[in-house]
């Protein structure tokens, strides 16, 4: 029994170490964003908010935040709508070539972002859609939509298809049943898909770097700062992005857990 306990302790310690590895860069970035020294090393200098002040006095970072917010909002709306439509189509219909259709919704995240960015740049520049804010939106929707689709599809799979049928039998049109049955049921997933896709877009840098031209989003600005010189401003931007993304994710998580409308409507599992 004591051996069991020992093994259990060691495994738990291992989990802590593994999580430690994952969080080391995040925590260090946060700490050094408040450190007065220019170079990240020990011992620490004094507490300072100068790097945060620096990024807000430097014109490019606030502009990048604005670009990121516009892109994130547009991407969230578009990819959640397309993701919902695809998830519903998969839920309700069967048709020839469906596996090809669904692979369109699942493949993009498996292609390296470098190649996606490069390919998008090659193609969008041919059709004169490159270097604008909407170029980033177009490319990001391709990449973010699968996350929305997966999330909403998961929610729909908890629904009994007979519910929609019951609505039809009671005289509702397809559209009425959609608004009265499907959308309310999927609403928590729809809301969390909005926040999740916004967060994914907010973090994506490679595609935005290629197709955005001078319209830098926040992570692209970070990338460009990294190619310049060592600067704790990167840590400050990173910590801000982290705070914003985590807020989005926690709100999404909260929305997903908060409303479980019609628990009895769930299919028995």
């Amino acid at each position: 029994m004591t051996v069991d306990r020992l093994i259990r302790r060691m495994l738990r310690a291992y989990v802590v170490i593994a999580l430690g590895f994952v969080f080391v860069p995040i925590v260090i970035s946060f700490i050094f964003s408040f450190n007065s020294d220019r170079f990240p090393t020990l011992p620490l200098g004094s507490f300072s908010t100068e790097w945060y002040e620096a990024i807000f006095s430097e014109g490019q970072v606030p502009v990048a935040f604005r670009t990121s917010l516009i892109v994130g909002g547009a991407v969230a709306l578009l990819s959640t709508f397309i993701g919902f439509a695809a998830a519903y189509t998969d839920f309700r219909y069967r048709f020839f070539g469906k596996s090809v259709y669904m692979s369109l919704a699942l493949l993009p995240p498996t292609i390296p972002v470098l190649i996606l960015g490069l390919t998008m740049l090659m193609f969008l520049s041919r059709v004169s859609l490159v270097g604008e804010i909407h170029s980033v939106v177009i490319a990001h929707v391709v990449f973010c939509m699968p996350f929305a689709m997966a999330l909403i599809r998961l929610r729909l799979s908890q629904m009994d298809p007979d519910l929609e049928r019951a609505a039809w039998n009671l005289g509702a049109s397809s559209w009425r049943a959609m608004l009265g049955v499907i959308v309310p049921f999927a609403l928590p997933a729809i809301l969390s898909a909005l926040f999740l896709t916004a967060a994914v877009s907010f973090d994506e840098f490679m595609i935005a770097f290629f197709v955005g031209g001078v319209n830098e989003t926040v992570p692209v600005r970070v990338l460009n700062m990294m190619q310049g010189q060592v600067s704790p401003r990167i840590n400050a931007v990173g910590s801000l992005v982290f705070a914003i993304s985590m807020t989005l994710v926690i709100v999404a998580q909260f929305l997903l857990m908060m409303r479980r409308p019609g628990r009895p409507m769930l299919r028995r599992t």
Partner: protein, 311 residues
């Protein structure tokens, strides 16, 4: 070729049957192309067709174009393909990148397994939920910022070497080495690999494990003979994702590995920068996409091989 296709056809209905037996029983409506169905069905096809499939097709096409006086010209030449693959360093880089991807898959799977095993079997449900939450968090921090942070940890006058200095070791060169690159790959893959392993381990039938224990099977033997085979699908998928992510990664080999020796991603960027040779970059990109698709399908085939044979 024909046999492989036949096998895929056999596989398909079973895979979908497994995932949606319930909805098949209740019968999914066949698609009638009325306005309603088109409204919901077409956005995905239109958007991904226009902005995903068309760019990919264009990428393939462009790999056959030519460059004259730094200008792209539509063409149908195999010169880029032959030219690139005749260069020794391209082949070397291809093999190296495959090796890096495989290394990342193996290392992250091995490092992840004890953690996911512990979370699946040795912790309470509340701890597991906390663990899952903590593992999802990194996806929402900027990957570039995390790599920048590692630079400060690993560099010669960085944090780790400062700590080593206190106990009289070092400085140890970690930045711009393969070690640095692997740390970057782990930063990218480890949370996802632990999560995927954890989900598949959570689905292992507990009574199987108890049965093994009751029959006198030791701890390690139970892990190897009962738990790993039962969770095989998830373990293979996790390793495959680690391979896919690392194979295509650009940031870690540049910022932590020092770009030397290069990977395929670095080669693509260099090819574009030097002489604006987009068609050659397209050759590498198409090669990478094809490689990833082959690897993904091979992994899926092995992951589900046993299941298929049984049914």
């Amino acid at each position: 070729m024909i046999r492989r296709q036949a096998r895929r056809f056999q596989g398909a209905p079973q895979d979908s049957a497994a995932s949606s037996t319930a909805s098949h029983r209740q019968g999914r409506a066949p698609l009638k192309p009325d306005g309603y169905a088109l409204f919901w069905g077409s956005p995905l096809a239109l958007w991904q067709g226009l902005f995903f499939l068309a760019p990919l097709a264009f990428l393939v096409l462009m790999s056959f174009w030519s460059v004259k006086n730094f200008r792209l010209e539509p063409d149908l030449t195999g010169a880029n393909w032959v030219g690139m693959w005749r260069k020794g360093y391209v082949v070397d880089t291809y093999v190296r990148t495959l090796g890096y991807g495989a290394l990342a898959a193996v290392v992250s799977s091995l490092i992840a397994f004890p953690a996911s095993y512990a979370l699946a079997f040795k912790t309470s449900a509340a701890t597991r939920r906390l663990g899952i939450f903590l593992l999802i968090t990194p996806f929402f921090t900027s990957y570039t910022v995390r790599i920048y942070s590692w630079q400060g940890v690993l560099s010669d006058d960085g944090i780790l070497n400062a700590l080593f200095g206190y106990v009289g070791i070092g400085p140890v060169a970690m930045l711009n080495t393969l070690f640095g690159t692997v740390i970057g790959y782990l930063t990218l893959c480890l949370p996802l690999v632990i999560l995927l392993q954890l989900f598949s381990l959570s689905n292992v039938d507990r009574s199987l494990i108890e049965a093994a224990h009751n029959l006198g099977c030791g701890r390690i033997r139970t892990v190897i003979l009962v738990i790993i085979p039962s969770a095989k699908v998830g373990l293979i998928l996790a390793a495959t994702f680690a391979f896919i992510l690392s194979f295509g990664d650009f940031v870690s080999p540049v910022s932590l590995g020092g770009s030397k020796p290069p990977t395929l991603s670095i080669l693509i960027v260099d090819t574009v920068k030097q002489g604006n040779h987009w068609p050659r970059a397209a050759v590498i990109a198409v090669t990478m996409v094809v490689t990833l698709i082959v690897v993904a399908f091979t992994a899926l085939y092995f992951a589900y091989a046993h299941r298929r044979a049984r049914s």
